[in-house]
């Protein structure tokens, strides 16, 4: 027989085995907690500004001469929730490929940051946006117009990536 005895249960004394006194003790603890000071932040008034290590909504880095993304599709491949769709097309620029369509379905996104980690161009990074509100399923699918953010607004995250990635 490959059964291990629950030795912990054997160590309990009679009153503990009765269970009820222990519950009463626990309830005493929780009751006392009710009167302790609270730690809630009053959110819309007191806005929390995350640090560079925070993984908010993924965004595409936009430089002065255009987006960094070359539509390699690695973010789409690595995404465990299949949130990203990329459609590449050809451009005249030196890097001959660009995303004609880049969509992130924020209903699917789980903010894991794999897309950022796998990106060979550091073109998709996690931003600090965390209060996302959508009123329809279609609206939650963000296209390039909503995803492209100028690089000057992403310096914290890029600095964090340089140090720790």
């Amino acid at each position: 027989m490959n059964i291990r005895k629950n030795t912990e249960a054997e160590r309990l004394n009679f009153w503990e085995k009765l269970y009820l006194p222990e519950i009463a003790k626990g309830m005493g603890i929780t009751f006392r907690q009710m009167f302790k000071p609270k730690f809630t932040r009053q959110y819309p008034e007191e806005v929390w500004i995350p640090t560079g290590s925070y993984r908010g909504r993924p965004v595409l880095v936009n430089e002065d001469d255009g987006e960094r993304c070359i539509a390699c599709g690695l973010c789409s491949r690595v995404c465990p929730a299949l949130a990203i769709e990329v459609q590449a097309a050809e451009t005249e620029r030196e890097k001959e490929r660009y995303p004609v369509k880049f969509e992130i379905n924020m209903l699917r996104c789980i903010y894991c940051g794999f897309c950022e980690e796998v990106c060979p161009e550091e073109a998709i990074v996690m931003s600090k946006d965390y209060d996302l509100v959508f009123t329809s399923q279609e609206e939650a699918i963000l296209g390039k117009d909503k995803l492209l953010v100028h690089i000057s607004k992403l310096q914290d995250r890029l600095e964090f990536l340089r140090q720790y990635k």
Binding site: L20, I23, G26, M27, I29, T30, F31, Q33, M34, F35, K36, P37, K38, F39, T40
Partner: protein, 348 residues
């Protein structure tokens, strides 16, 4: 003519009481749950909608009404729709037999302070209805055609059937003392604090308390909706107001269970001291109001207790639940019946 008047009276009472129960007991229950859980966890809790967030439950219900109502493709549509109605309907129906205060005499007419005219088998009716309640949950689990829902539904039926036994047997002690199945009679016998049944039936009360936690699917016996294992249990596939109905039913059930415990063991609407000491006359309206408030206060205390337990005690494992029900509570309930019977026999 008499019949029509009786029916009309019952209808008016039903409307008043159901509105009170639904709008206030359930809504307040939800609000209290959130507030108390917040306090226990050193948070503030709802504080945006209305004073102290008191209107939060109404905002929630409004939100639930606005939500998309999804029915899974593979679900049995009819039963999927019926299940929440059964659950909430049953939870509400129990109030039909609960007396909220002593009888009031106006002129020479005696008014009974409950929906149904004094039912002489009140407690049986309550037991019968709570047993039917399990159908709602089992049907919800089965008709969703989802493994988590089905498991939740199965657990709930097994659990409710198991604990109904000990609950029923724990009651027998009270019935032996009162010698009646009528809730009015049971309450009438407990006219002062030292004649409350809890004093004669401490074991019975504890058994009944534990069983009613299981019957209402509240922590530590909330296995049918155990989130970590079963996603949402029987209500996984429900959304919108159908989910809201299950949600309301849970709080209505909690209030019912509290009311019954108060009625059976804590003197119901009876004041702890004889009414005469306060200078109130039996059958007067003012006494009825005091009794009603007294009853509500007692219920509120029990609801608070339910919530307090939920945020203290972790969930049982399924085998532990079954062990407790069949191997501990049931023998103890039988023992309680035996001891009570012997006690009554000796005193007689």
């Amino acid at each position: 003519m008499d019949i029509i008047w009786t029916l009309l009276e019952a209808l008016i009472k039903a409307v008043v009481i159901l509105t009170l129960i639904l709008l206030f007991a359930a809504a307040l229950g939800v609000w209290a749950e959130r507030k108390i859980s917040a306090w226990i966890q050193n948070r503030i809790g709802p504080n945006r909608v209305g004073p102290f967030g008191l209107l939060q439950p109404f905002a929630d219900v409004f939100k639930l009404f606005m939500k998309e109502d999804l029915i899974p493709k593979a679900a049995d549509k009819t039963f999927h729709r019926i299940a929440p109605i059964i659950t909430l309907g049953i939870a509400i129906s129990v109030y039909a037999v609960i007396p909220f205060a002593g009888d009031v005499q106006i002129g020479d007419k005696v008014y009974h302070m409950g929906i149904a005219p004094d039912l002489n088998i009140g407690i049986l009716f309550v037991l019968a209805l709570t047993s039917v309640g399990v159908y709602g949950i089992t049907l919800a689990g089965w008709s969703s055609n989802n493994k988590y829902s089905l498991l939740g539904g199965l657990r709930s039926s097994a659990q409710m059937i198991s604990y109904e036994l000990s609950m029923g047997l724990a009651l027998v002690g009270v019935l032996l003392i009162a010698g009646s199945l009528s809730l009015n009679d049971i309450v009438g016998k407990q006219d002062v604090i030292w004649r409350w049944n809890v004093i004669f039936q401490p074991l019975g009360f504890i058994l009944f308390l534990v069983s009613s936690f299981a019957e209402t699917n509240r922590t530590p016996f909330d296995l049918p909706e155990a989130e970590p294992e079963l996603v949402g249990g029987y209500n996984t596939e429900y959304s919108g107001m159908k989910f809201g109905m299950f949600f309301l039913a849970e709080y209505a059930n909690m209030a019912t269970a509290s009311a019954i415990m108060v009625l059976l063991y804590f003197g119901g609407w009876q004041l702890p001291i004889p009414a005469e000491w306060l200078g109130l006359q039996q059958g007067s309206i003012s006494l009825a109001i005091v009794q009603f408030l007294n009853f509500m206060l007692k219920i509120a205390l029990f609801v608070f207790f339910f919530i307090w337990v939920r945020w203290t005690v972790p969930r049982f494992r399924y085998d532990q639940l079954m062990n407790l029900g069949w191997k501990v509570l049931l023998p103890l309930a039988l023992l309680n019946v035996l001891l009570t019977a012997i006690g009554i026999w000796i005193l007689k």
